[in-house]
């Protein structure tokens, strides 16, 4: 029995593509990253969630050897990034912050440039990655004529060139339109289904929820929690937002129900764009009760414009995790 479990643990360890253990970084005497540890397994989409300034980009820069950690260890496919960067980076494709490219070269020349820095990448592979990201028609144009979305695609193509086991994307949806974001999600899932691990940072909980299997939550240079997305998000208050034709009557009806808790205006932190123009009544309640409450309202002659559930924001999640301590 013991033997079997040991074997299972070993194979689980082999499956770890990226292992970060108690990494710290001081810049100019200031601790920027206080303690970051997590593991990314093969074939999973790993989210790295935190507000702006929490240390996401600094951590990512340490993963790809742009910054050297003050202490701690980073292993990529078992190779120490500090001691054998050549061996470790062979398994990584990445976009750090914005997708950069040489604007005076064409897309193709950019890919050729980065292919020359890898081993065994031929023109067929360059054509292949250009086709994967759907850039084949414009690949021979100068990059300065590209839109942000196309630069993003070129960046991903560049990152995929060396057939990496781990793809690191830093805020990949930044600057993309909704259609682009949807395409990116599908693309990420497609890559993961082929066995690639993805490490995606974001400050938007909804984005991580839609894309990732597991997530690490970072705030002020510390990882607060690592777990599956469901584990971490489950239990966070789901809000139900009501909009009535007669807001006052609706509010009174909801307030009269013992299972419904009205949330005051200043407490909910729901993005205003989600609420729309009409006055909304925000409640904390079990979503199962919605249909019976709707029935009640209709019987009372109160017209309902909309009812919808709003997932908790990152802000709320943090409030729960840090027990009221505000995030910076």
């Amino acid at each position: 029995m013991q033997y079997a479990s040991q074997e299972a643990r070993q194979s689980a360890q082999q499956d770890v593509v990226l292992s970060v253990s108690s990494v710290k970084k001081q810049i100019g005497g200031k601790p920027i990253i206080k303690d970051v540890s997590f593991e990314v397994r093969s074939g999973e989409i790993f989210g790295f969630l935190g507000p702006n300034g929490a240390g996401k980009t600094t951590t990512i820069r340490m993963l790809v050897n742009l910054i050297k950690p003050t202490s701690g260890e980073i292993l990529i496919c078992g190779e120490d990034i500090g001691r054998h960067p050549e061996a470790a980076l062979r398994h990584v494709g990445c976009i750090v912050e914005n997708p950069e490219a040489y604007s005076y070269l064409t897309g193709w020349e950019n890919l050729e440039h980065f292919a020359r820095m890898l081993r065994g990448i031929d023109n067929a592979r360059i054509r292949e990655v250009a086709a994967i990201v759907g850039l084949d028609s414009r690949i021979h144009d100068k990059v300065k004529t590209y839109s942000l979305g196309m630069r993003q695609r070129l960046g991903i193509a560049q990152a995929l060139l060396g057939r990496p086991k781990l793809l690191i994307l830093d805020e990949p949806t930044n600057g993309l339109d909704p259609k682009g974001i949807k395409e990116l999600r599908e693309f990420v899932r497609m890559l993961a289904s082929q066995g690639m691990s993805l490490f995606i940072s974001s400050h938007l909980l909804s984005e991580i929820q839609l894309m990732c299997d597991r997530v690490a939550i970072i705030s002020r240079g510390e990882v607060l929690a690592v777990g599956t997305v469901d584990e971490l998000i489950h239990g966070a208050d789901n809000y139900v937002v009501w909009q009535f034709e007669q807001p006052e009557a609706g509010r009174r009806l909801l307030a009269g129900d013992g299972d419904v808790e009205l949330v005051p205006e200043h407490e909910h932190q729901i993005d205003e764009s989600l609420l729309g123009m009409r006055e909304a009544v925000i409640t904390a309640m079990n979503p199962d009760r919605i249909s019976s409450l709707v029935e009640k309202a209709v019987r009372a002659g109160i017209g309902i414009v909309s009812v919808h559930c709003v997932a908790p924001t990152l802000e709320q999640l943090f409030l729960r995790m840090t027990e009221g301590e505000s995030i910076g």
């Binding site: 742009l66 910054i67 750090v96 020349e109 020359r116 820095m117």
Partner: protein, 330 residues
């Protein structure tokens, strides 16, 4: 051999990037504009001289007497006088040996153009190539792509260095060739065999012409180009270091230009401040040693070469140390 196989594609990358940035085209364009202007100026000087002097010997004689007049003036600083005295002795030597030092032909023009260009013009061209080599990658953010590939950082800087050396060499060669071709169209394409005197040894304020000997001007031009290459490479290595240290390309150009220009000014003030001879930019005018006039008393070609080598090697060490260790924060 295996290491070289890995380095060659990187060098190809860096060479290609400088080419595609059209930096070298700019340099060629500048040369194509400047050289005809100077050729025309030289042409006008020749015409005036022809009007004034039926014989080039008269011109030399007049030049000598002019210099000697300035020597007797009290208001002229001592190091000017010294260089004038040396010039007078050389001119006398040319006169005695019946050699026209200013015979207007393509090779002579090229020789004097290159030797005048070594302190300011060549450093400027080199800066156009070297200043944004690293800082440019930082500004555009592509340094993040470059340094996250499975390639050691020193290899990336080394390939940049090789590409830079290649373009600096090319600049020296192309300048000489363009200068010869353009000026030759006006002055004629001869002058390769004309004897030029070199090997003057300076003791204090007197030129010892005992070691002076005539060499064909073609050979002289070749030696000159070699020395220009050394001084241009020193500027290139320093510019590379500044480009590693300074984030902004504009700042790195300004810093280097200031250093180069202050060097030329300082060499005129160096009689009172002898230690100025250890500054790299005072030593850039290596071609003067061929003609026999050091920028500061007591300086020799060997001394200048050693000083330039020290500056070059130091900047290489700093560049590689900082580039391989530094955190890329933006």
């Amino acid at each position: 051999m295996k290491a070289l196989d890995r380095l060659l594609p990187l060098i190809q990358n860096e060479t290609l990037k400088i080419w595609k940035k059209k930096r070298f085209f700019v340099i060629v364009l500048v040369l194509m504009i400047i050289i005809p202007i100077f050729t025309y100026a030289q042409h006008r000087i020749d015409e005036t001289n022809k009007k004034n002097f039926k014989d080039w010997r008269n011109e030399l004689v007049q030049q000598i007497s002019e210099y000697q007049n300035t020597l007797s003036s009290d208001r002229i600083p001592e190091e000017w006088k010294r260089s004038r005295r040396i010039a007078v002795q050389q001119l006398q030597y040319y006169l005695d040996h019946d050699v026209n030092p200013n015979s207007p032909d393509g090779v002579t023009f090229t020789r004097s153009f290159l030797s005048n260009a070594v302190t300011l013009f060549f450093p400027l061209l080199v800066l156009a190539l070297a200043s944004d080599l690293v800082s440019g990658e930082r500004t555009s953010g592509t340094i993040k792509m470059l340094l996250t590939r499975p390639v050691r950082r020193w290899k990336i800087l080394f390939s940049k260095l090789v590409a830079l050396s290649f373009y600096v060499s090319l600049t020296v060669v192309v300048s000489a060739v363009l200068c010869y071709l353009i000026s030759g169209a006006v002055f004629g394409y001869n002058g390769w065999g004309m004897p030029v005197f070199t090997g003057f040894v300076i003791h204090g304020s007197s030129v010892e012409s005992g070691f002076a000997h005539a060499i064909p001007q073609g050979l002289y031009l070749l030696m000159e180009a070699g020395l220009i290459w050394v001084s241009a490479m020193t500027v290139a290595l320093l510019a590379l270091m500044v480009s590693v240290l300074v984030r902004s390309t504009a700042a790195s150009i300004v810093a280097m230009m200031a250093a180069v220009i202050s060097g030329t000014i300082l060499s005129n003030m160096a009689s009172s401040w002898q230690s100025a001879k250890f500054i790299f930019s005072v030593n850039l005018q290596l071609t003067n040693y061929l003609a026999g006039s050091p920028p500061i008393t007591g300086m020799t070609l060997g001394f200048s070469l050693v000083i330039l080598a020290c500056w070059g090697i130091t900047s290489l060490i700093v560049s590689f140390f900082v580039f391989t260790k530094q955190d890329i924060l933006n």
